[in-house]
Symmetry: C2
Subunit: 489 residues, 2 copies
């Protein structure tokens, strides 16, 4: 009955792919780099969307939708931006196919005057639009979010973690002052941190990127970074302070209260289906997916067990009677009464799919008014009364949610080390990996050298650095405080 | 204070564009044919999505996501399909831009081995995937829906009604038998009819398309057709019985209970942001948008009226006190307490945006414990007690919802006529337009001739035709029953 999942200790990459496959989350598609998100994976994304969307709306944002295509010339209006995205983009050059001898060919007569790019991110098209939306300080702030698909031409793809097309949300805000924009960038970073921890049970470090890791066109990039079980970090979300770069590139000015014309200040921020990869690598085990209850598509599955028709009718009725109280309590419950599968098969399937709680009911449970309740995260089982089952289930779901966060916090803490010397740094990377705090001299050259030597990058600098001066582990030059390194996805 | 909206009687097309602009639903974008859906428009779409998605899930469907791109060769696997879509598609040929003397150019070295098409619809990529999903009758039915953007290279575009990129949902289902697939196609047509009438308050005719109007690759196309105020029909949703066309094109077979290998039967069905256009043209008037409460982003707006600080504090407190009871009753309410706008401006703005109910509260209302309540649809006002305001509002919202449907039904009935002769047919088209039932000899030639002569097309044939034989109005040949004609969007 065991599913075909490679042990993490044996091959973490293969384990990841096995979990994605066996939990039926996603698969590769015939279009290289694009994935098919299967219903189990998409429901996870829907639950993430619901959680995030609620938080965006609570902080005053509204959703809108901008074109999938960006005129080629737009990309080049912001100098850094084009540098960052020109090398990996899908270029549309024609608008018609024609029949040819060996199938279908591109009609040369349909060549476009100006090529279109499939959006890798939407700053350019949105800021071109904001020029029409913003005239006066009364029009500010503009607080917009978009749920969309984007495309970046990736060569080395990995389901959820790095795909050519991915689903995401991108917030794009416009403000009257630098202060307002910076505050917004920090506010959304905090929304991401809260979501990661409260919904995903995934603890994160927050910080600011170095210049070399900054978003193309940003003045500052803030990020949340999570530590995976295998000691590699995952950039899970970014919030950018864009300064006036895009306002200047697209000439977006407003008349301020003082009557003067000024350029608008901007932020953008996004998280993507990559979060699903992070979720998997934070909690799951060698038996498959483990899901935090707040995001699990099915929170509780009921599996009936019976051997003959007499037992069947009693067990089915009993199992069915559990549905209403659980549903009424707002719990996402499924009664798995499929007859073509045996209970053992169902147990294994729900285990690999990560359903947080499993209720099993057999003839003896009917007799004793009991239910066997099993936790996916700890694999613990107990017998409980049918009465107030919804209360018991709610409590257990809450416990699992907080236990998963605690466990991930403990693991991350154990995976966070400090290195005094470059040798120690390398030794930690090669043995355990994880986050490493170390001193750095603040130069791009040293950052580059470390990356070339060790494949580790600076994940972030602390947002509010404490004074903790030392010497750069590589050059011995002065360093005001340690920064966070890791190898990463 | 009047908004700049052209009267419908003067220029219906311009009226439509004026309403879309003044209600801030959408705008054109710098990418020809693509639109920007503004927050007011997108919230309408979100409410439509929520309603439809609930109905899809109740009928057993799950959401998934398939790639944006389709390999060129896929399109040609189903002969009719490629004919239908090859002439209007976005073709990706390259994957990289490079700096050139005058900006940015396409890197010739990045030419793709096989071009990719931006999906105009996803039958091909999905059926290629279903080959992996379906082996046995146990795997059937597959009931999948996708919320996505699609692109069809349209030259003559019109906000919401016809755009190059649009948002939609596309259901794609696989079945063991022809009967099951046909039943599904009819079931989803009924879901669309129910949604159009119960949510949009937009009555529709249901029927089946003639061969010439069929979806490219379908055996039968069923549709819902709505009649707009100006006498033109709008195809608002389609549900296709695909037979085994795509199963054969992509070699999707299953082992049936009898042990035999068989091709799978298919359906697909979709509605799009076009529905928003239909919604506008069903209910709105010369003062702007009119929205059915079930879809309105804001169902009730509260506008406070005061002249001095003393009045302000009392009115604000009073207005605020209405929020909680309304919210608790599940009503989408907004307190428009913006101070930079005067009440009269707000009245006009909420009128043009179509908010179904407006509550106005001034100092005298505070004194008398009253609220002035105004309906957007009828423009009627009344003074009502503050007590149980949520009950009054709920009742009025329900009344508005059903009144809008009744009014649209009455209008559609008045716009539905029968023509005995071709002259009469043409005379109706040129004077009133609307739906016309008339006899037709069943040939594509006559259908084509009518279209060329009059621009009217057969919107649909009745699903369950009553025996009502007559003579074709054009050729005089036998006709078993009248069919539904109209000019259309």
């Amino acid at each position: 009955m065991a599913k075909k999942i490679t042990a993490r200790s044996k091959d973490y990459s293969q384990w990841y792919l096995d979990v994605v496959r066996e939990a039926q989350l996603a698969s590769h598609s015939p279009v290289r780099g694009c994935m098919v998100i299967k219903p189990n994976g998409y429901e996870l994304w829907e639950n993430m969307q619901r959680g995030l969307d609620g938080m965006f709306k609570e902080t005053g944002h509204r959703n809108a939708y901008f074109p999938l295509f960006i005129p080629k010339s737009f990309l080049s209006k912001e100098a850094q931006h084009v540098e960052g995205f020109a090398k990996e983009c899908a270029v549309i050059t024609h608008s018609r196919l024609v029949n040819t001898d060996d199938g279908v060919g591109v009609d040369p007569a349909s060549k476009l005057e100006e090529e279109l790019i499939v959006r890798p991110t939407s700053e350019t098209i949105i800021w071109d639009t904001y020029r029409d939306w913003i005239q006066s300080y009364r029009d500010l702030p503009v607080l917009i979010n978009q749920w969309a698909n984007v495309v970046r031409w990736e060569m080395r793809t990995r389901l959820f973690l790095r795909t050519m097309e991915f689903l995401w949300q991108e917030g794009h805000t416009a403000h009257a002052t630098e202060e307002d924009a910076l505050e917004e960038a920090h506010r959304m970073l905090e929304v991401y941190r809260t979501f990661a921890e409260d919904y995903m049970a995934m603890p994160v470090e927050t910080g600011v990127k170095t210049a070399s890791e900054r978003f193309a066109g940003a003045v500052e990039t803030f990020c949340i970074e999570a530590m995976m079980q295998d000691g590699k970090a995952l950039q899970a979300g970014t919030s950018h302070f864009l300064g006036q770069n895009f306002a200047k590139a697209f000439d977006v000015r407003f008349q301020d209260q003082d009557g003067k014309e000024k350029y608008v200040w901007a932020t953008s921020w996004g998280v993507s289906t990559r979060l699903i990869g992070g979720l998997i690598m934070t909690h799951s085990d060698d038996n498959g997916l483990v899901l935090p209850p707040r995001l699990a598509p099915v929170q509780v599955v009921i599996v009936p067990i019976w051997r003959n028709d007499d037992e069947k009718s009693r067990v089915m009725e009993y199992g069915n009677s559990l549905l209403a109280p659980l549903r009424d309590a707002g719990i996402r419950v499924r009664f798995d009464d499929r007859e073509q599968y045996k209970p053992g098969w169902k147990f294994a399937q729900h285990e690999v799919e990560g359903t947080p709680l499993r209720l099993a009911v057999g003839p003896r449970d009917v007799e004793n008014d009991k239910v066997e309740i099993a936790r996916r995260d700890t694999m613990e089982k107990e017998l409980t009364d049918r009465q107030n089952i919804e209360k018991k289930v709610r409590e257990l779901l809450d416990t699992i949610q907080s236990d998963l966060l605690s466990a991930a916090r403990t693991r991350t803490r154990e995976q966070t080390r400090t290195a005094e010397t470059y040798d120690e740094f390398k030794q930690i990377l090669d043995s355990e990996g994880g986050f490493i705090y170390a001193h750095w001299d603040g130069t791009a050259e040293t950052e580059e050298q470390i990356k070339n030597d060790t494949k580790a990058t600076i994940r972030c600098l602390p947002l509010k650095p404490e004074k903790n001066p030392g010497k750069c582990m590589v050059t011995g030059k002065d360093s005001p405080y340690p920064v966070l390194f890791a190898r990463s996805y």
